[in-house]
């Protein structure tokens, strides 16, 4: 692109100021979170100290309190089950649908994008209330299955749309050729399309996992106390008697670190995934 062009001391000053601005913004996005991570490893006195403590003796007691003494080990298991299960459901239902939308002339194709957007754009509360009422009559409230289905309901549209988008990148000549050789649609789908779309599937899986793993309201209302996930466990640590900052921070670390690592690997696909392919 364009390089900084100014010459002389003024140009150099602007150059330095620009870099300083970028570094300052980066620090601003990072420092509050680092403070939270540090809090997770502090004991009570260090957390509540009126002078911010950068140097302290790290302790794992908050993790012990939350995950061994408390119930967050169960919530962690629920979180893993819900996120994995809903991603799998999304793939089982969504991959064939995406294939159909990409390769066949089916009705509803034009409305797909509208459907995707309307389930992504509707506020969580607008999606959770219908399911809450429905699950109440089915007895699915307070079960991992209920939360899993709820997360599938809001992720499915995104998975279908993204995968259709990735399937479109695969030239049609490939499957046309295989079909004239006598392959069945299923063979084309499973032997040609899916292997070629693997990078796209990885991006889609990570994004769907991320949304499910981070989700709060569905897990709180539908999971309730019976199938609470990690995020849904947060309000339980904000009690009238006080806020358990240490444990909250420890749980936050456990919630955040795995997805930060996963997302780091798919950085390039992230832009495309989060803008429905509008920006590649």
């Amino acid at each position: 692109m364009i390089s900084a062009r100014g010459s002389g001391w003024r140009g150099r000053l602007i150059h330095v100021l620009e870099i300083a601005f970028i570094v300052a913004i980066t620090a601003a996005s990072l420092v509050p979170f680092l403070w939270l991570v540090m809090t997770a490893f502090k004991d009570r006195t260090d957390i509540l100290s009126a002078i911010p403590r950068l140097l302290f003796t790290p302790t794992f007691s908050n993790f012990y309190e939350a995950f061994v003494v408390g119930e967050f080990d169960i919530y962690l298991k629920n979180s893993l089950m819900v996120a994995t299960g809903s991603v799998m459901l999304c793939l089982i239902i969504g991959l064939p649908a995406a294939y159909a939308f990409s390769r066949f002339r089916v009705f509803g194709e034009k409305h797909l994008f509208f459907y995707v957007l309307s389930t992504r754009m509707a506020p969580g509360i607008a999606l959770v209330l219908p399911l809450y009422i429905f699950f109440q009559s089915l007895g699915l409230l307070g079960t991992v299955w209920g939360v899993m289905i709820a997360h599938t309901a809001f992720n499915l549209a995104l998975v279908i749309y993204l995968m259709r988008n990735f399937f479109e990148d695969i030239p049609r000549d490939l499957d046309e050729a295989a079909l004239t050789e006598g392959a069945t649609e299923w063979q084309v789908f499973s032997r040609i399309i899916l292997p070629l779309a693997r990078p796209g599937i990885v991006v889609t899986v990570v994004i769907a996992f991320l949304f499910s793993w981070n989700e709060f309201l569905f897990a709180l209302m539908i999971g309730g106390s019976g199938a609470s996930t990690l995020p849904a466990g947060f309000p339980g640590l904000v009690t009238p008697l006080g806020t358990y900052w240490g444990q909250l921070a420890a749980v936050s670390v456990v919630v955040s670190i795995p997805v930060l690592i996963m997302v780091w690997f798919i950085q390039r696909g992230l832009t495309r995934g989060l803008t429905f392919g509008a920006v590649k």
Partner: protein
């Protein structure tokens, strides 16, 4: 496109079943509920069919109206800031590309965090007794009781937290778009000796316009959904100063258990987001890269 019409529908079968069972049907059940009286405080009247009374009540409910106004103000304060900051960082990064590799992954952290973690991070940092930012503000004499303790400052704080969380999203898509631009116009301008400001105004900004529109519209609809962060930071308070429409709808349903009325409120929110989505789709197909090719 293959013409085998009926074969195609078999592939869509599971999707249709799922949509019918878990999206369309629950929605109809909720719509039905919105036409009935249902409130656990008055069990005697429960189940009575009252037509569109709940909707009429919602439209004239001052609290609902207030929450819609708070939501609009929230959008009006947060979005322009996110746009300006996001654009500034993206353009500056494009001048210093060697920084991008280190800076961008770090910048993305706030938007990858669970919204509930974002809210908690803000609450912890802003605490006037032991939070990093809270102590600093108290020491210089601003907000000695913490930013979340008074209505006005709490409102601007939730907007600021949204800026903190989502500016990186705009930076991310703007830098991707800038780097994907054709090089010729830039080279031609440089040969003619145009300065950076001119290049930005005359070339970068016009080429970026479709992406700016897409990005802002996605932010608009996403910000409309904001719930978790505000729920854990203020719960809508103090008073009702941060009570977004989503928080209001939550309270009516799951705090007052006024489910009949609550269904109507949620129905209206659904309607608003439906219209927003429709507008978004129209504008995206018009200005953006076509979503369906």
């Amino acid at each position: 496109m293959r013409k085998t019409a009926w074969g195609g529908y078999a592939w869509l079968g599971p999707m249709f079943l799922f949509l019918l069972a878990f999206e369309l049907w629950p929605f109809l059940v909720m719509f039905d509920q919105s036409l009935h009286f249902l409130n656990y405080t008055q069990p005697a009247k429960n189940g009575q069919f009252i037509g569109f009374d709940n909707y009429r009540k919602a439209v004239f409910d001052d609290n609902f109206f207030h929450s819609i106004r708070i939501t609009l103000l929230f959008l009006v304060v947060a979005l322009p800031l996110e746009f300006l900051l996001g654009l500034a960082v993206a353009v500056l990064l494009s001048y210093h590309l060697w920084l991008k590799r280190f800076v961008l992954p770090l910048l993305l952290i706030p938007m990858i965090l669970a919204p509930i973690v974002v809210g908690l991070t803000a609450r912890l940092n802003l605490n006037p007794d032991f939070g990093l930012i809270g102590i600093f503000l108290r020491d210089i004499g601003i907000a000695t009781d913490g930013l979340l303790s008074s209505g006005t400052s709490a409102f601007f704080t939730i907007a600021a937290v949204d800026v903190w969380q989502w500016t990186p999203f705009l930076t991310m898509i703007f830098i991707a778009a800038i780097l994907g631009m054709p090089r010729e116009p830039f080279e031609a301008a440089e040969v003619e000796g145009a300065n950076r400001w001119h290049i930005f105004r005359r070339i970068t900004l016009p080429l970026l316009r479709p992406i700016i529109i897409v990005g802002l519209l996605l932010r608009l609809t996403d910000a409309f959904k904001t719930f978790d962060q505000v729920f854990i930071m203020t719960g809508g308070g103090p008073g009702a100063s941060t009570e977004l429409a989503t928080i209001f709808a939550y309270k009516v349903n799951f705090a007052s258990w006024n489910l009949g009325y609550g269904s109507a409120v949620v129905g209206l929110l659904f309607f608003i987001s439906f219209i927003l989505t429709f507008v978004l789709l129209k504008l995206m197909t018009r200005f953006g890269r076509r979503p369906l090719t």
